[in-house]
Amino acid sequence: MADTIIANPTAGPATETTVQFLTPEGEFAPSESAEEYASYLDRLSHDDLQQFYRHMAVVRRFDHEGTNLQRQGQMALWVPSHGQEAAQVGSAFAAKPQDHIFPSYREHAVAHVRGIDLLSIVELLRGNTHGGWDPTDPANGNFHGYCLVIGSHTLHATGYAMGMQRDGVVGTGDDSVDAAVLAYFGDGSTSQGDVSEAFVFSASAQSPNVFFLQNNHWAISVPVSVQSRIPLYLRSRGFGVPSVQIDGNDVLASFAVTAKHLDEARAGNGPQFIEALTYRIGAHTSSDDPSKYQDQALYDYWVARDPIVRFETYLRSLGEGDAFFAAIAEEADDYAADIRHRTLALTPPPASIMFDHVYSEPHPVMQEQKLWLERYEASFEGDQA
């Protein structure tokens, strides 16, 4: 039977229509609402399922390494993704190469699926860069930059999708051409005017947008109930944007539902909205102290619904054995070790990056101030000699 997803009513929205394929116990038992999405699972080979697991496990391990590196002073801040891997990996797999992705700042697993070198995230949170990867480089899977101003990027995603419409890559019927934009944001973000305006503009333009909300139940210390007293997946409907709520800790639901709604968007049927119910198992960031506000029962409830454990049980029920899981564990450790290794080798950026990219065209003030700083810095060299 389908899980009710949220036992604790104070935890926020839950509905009977939540799409779920895998119960928390790892049993394949689609909810009634899952039926219309079931055919999308046919697209998945066993290798795909292994990849789901692999990405979730590797990024979980990466995330822990990030926390450790931050504690050891290698970064000023860490933003954990622990607990949200299924929502991220399933949805990311649903995106085609020609789709574009506009993340918030916690989508490490999406980044990994799209081919980003996750060291870039370390560089960003270390204070070496404000960006980290080049979204125009084909190697980076059309994964755009992290956006720290809550909700802003949902409008960029909308404008980008409007550009796709103008480029004639929506609703052509050609699978290799039709494209959409997948944008991620959090439960707190839904309160920002920009997110509502993104619904307005995308509904008005009928642009190929899929808005993917990870409701991890917290905006730092503020529970989702402060942002909304009703389930958030309902939010978009009054804007004319169809929506669905899924069990975000079920990677199969995340994949199938995102795949269908991306198909809708690519086909020219306009914007779509998905709310994935999940939970932020870690702190908001390494600067945060969840003990000040965390509800232990709620936390325990969600730990018991861990997306990776659940999927491992399911894979084992399909016959996957220890060797596979051991190999992935080793790969994850290797990935983390490599990140650690390269993090320790990072050097501070040159001062010139402060001036070089503020403008795309030559700018006299940048040239002047860059030169001034060079000369000023050089003036100390004598002192030290």
């Binding site: 404000h130 995603a157 305006e197 503020v358 030559p362």
Partner: protein, 342 residues
């Protein structure tokens, strides 16, 4: 298009000069039409710019000519307009956004300040942000609250933006095309009180560099400096000054960020006196910047303190008081008299 690149010189193989007398609104319309025709990636977006042609009719006829995909009547939300323009720019488009009136740019301020101005830098230069934001601004039109403001300072202070303002139809025609051709975000401030007076537009001419200031009247005793609608006020003041035996040089700033200080310092070095005028409140403003920098760089040339003539440090008043609020030639002359007394 026959504009110069931002730093270089004219590239046009200009045919015979083709000059028409046009109001600035129509010159802008012609410039936008040219930009739309030259580059299929250029598109216009804003409230009421399509069927209506904009509340000032600057985009009149352009939707009919280029279609609803390229001249877009957007929903009513400035953050949405600028935010989606950013997305379009990331996709390779060159959006030109119209903000209906100066006082309605603030709902879009976050997208301008934290996104548009910073994205290229955030992306280490991997992509550019060729977005133009057109803002009809300033007073002298007798309108209600929020419709006569001069918010240039907010944008000039914001690193990552370029800020310009034409004072003549000819500059308007050329500068809008240069702004659209620029790969950087450009805040394009249109002095709305100058939309209607006609002036010559040389369609076969060459564009002055977008970021160059320009001496528009030569003189020897005092330099008068302004941008936008205030330039014509300075010209009137210079006439009065001439009658009083004072020879005023007038400089049109044209670019508010960056500021082309060369011609300004040259002028002040010659005259020894500077009066800076603007419609905006003076406190912590563009005028402050110019006064500070000229005071610093022309320290030994200045025979009198740099004086600033500005709107008062109040909200723009009810329209019946605008002539008292906005600096006119007399107010400029009051300052000229004071600097000449030194």
């Amino acid at each position: 298009m026959s504009v110069t690149d931002l730093t270089g010189t004219a590239t046009e193989s200009a045919p015979a000069s083709r000059v028409e007398e046009l109001p600035m609104a129509k010159a802008l319309n012609a410039g936008l039409r040219q930009a739309l025709a030259d580059d299929p990636k250029v598109l216009l977006m804003g409230e009421d710019i399509g069927r209506l042609g904009g509340v000032f009719r600057v985009t009149e006829g352009l939707q009919a000519e280029f279609g609803t995909d390229r001249v877009v009547d957007t929903p009513l939300a400035e953050s949405g307009i600028i935010g989606t323009a950013i997305g379009l720019a990331l996709r390779g488009y060159r959006p030109v956004c119209e903000i209906q009136f100066d006082g309605f740019i603030y709902p879009g301020f976050d997208q301008i300040t934290s996104q548009l101005a910073k994205l290229t830098n955030r992306g280490s230069g991997a992509f550019s942000m060729p977005v133009v934001i057109r803002v009809p601004y300033g007073g002298h039109i007798g309108a209600v609250e929020h419709h006569q403001e001069s918010p240039e300072t907010y944008f000039a202070h914001t690193a990552g933006l370029r800020v310009v303002s034409p004072s003549t139809p000819n500059d308007a025609y050329w500068m809008i095309q240069e702004a659209i051709a620029s790969n950087d975000p450009v805040m394009f401030f249109e002095p709305k009180s100058r939309y209607w007076p006609k002036g010559p537009v040389d369609f076969a001419g060459t564009a002055a560099p977008l970021h160059a200031s320009r001496v528009v009247r030569t003189g020897t005793d005092v330099t008068l400096l302004a941008h936008g609608a205030m330039v014509s006020v300075l010209m009137a003041a210079a006439e009065i000054a001439a009658e009083e035996g004072v020879s005023a040089e007038v400089v049109d700033l044209r670019s508010l960020s960056p500021i082309d200080y060369g011609p300004i310092i040259d002028s002040v070095t010659k005259t020894g006196r500077l009066v800076v005028a603007q419609e905006a409140p003076g406190f912590v403003s563009l005028g402050s910047e110019i006064a500070a920098t000229v005071s610093e760089r022309a320290f030994y040339s200045l025979q009198a303190p740099v004086l600033r003539v500005s709107g008062f440090d109040t909200p723009f008043p009810p329209a019946k008081l605008e002539t008292l609020y906005l600096p006119d030639a007399d107010r400029v002359m009051e300052a000229v008299d004071r600097v000449m007394a030194h």
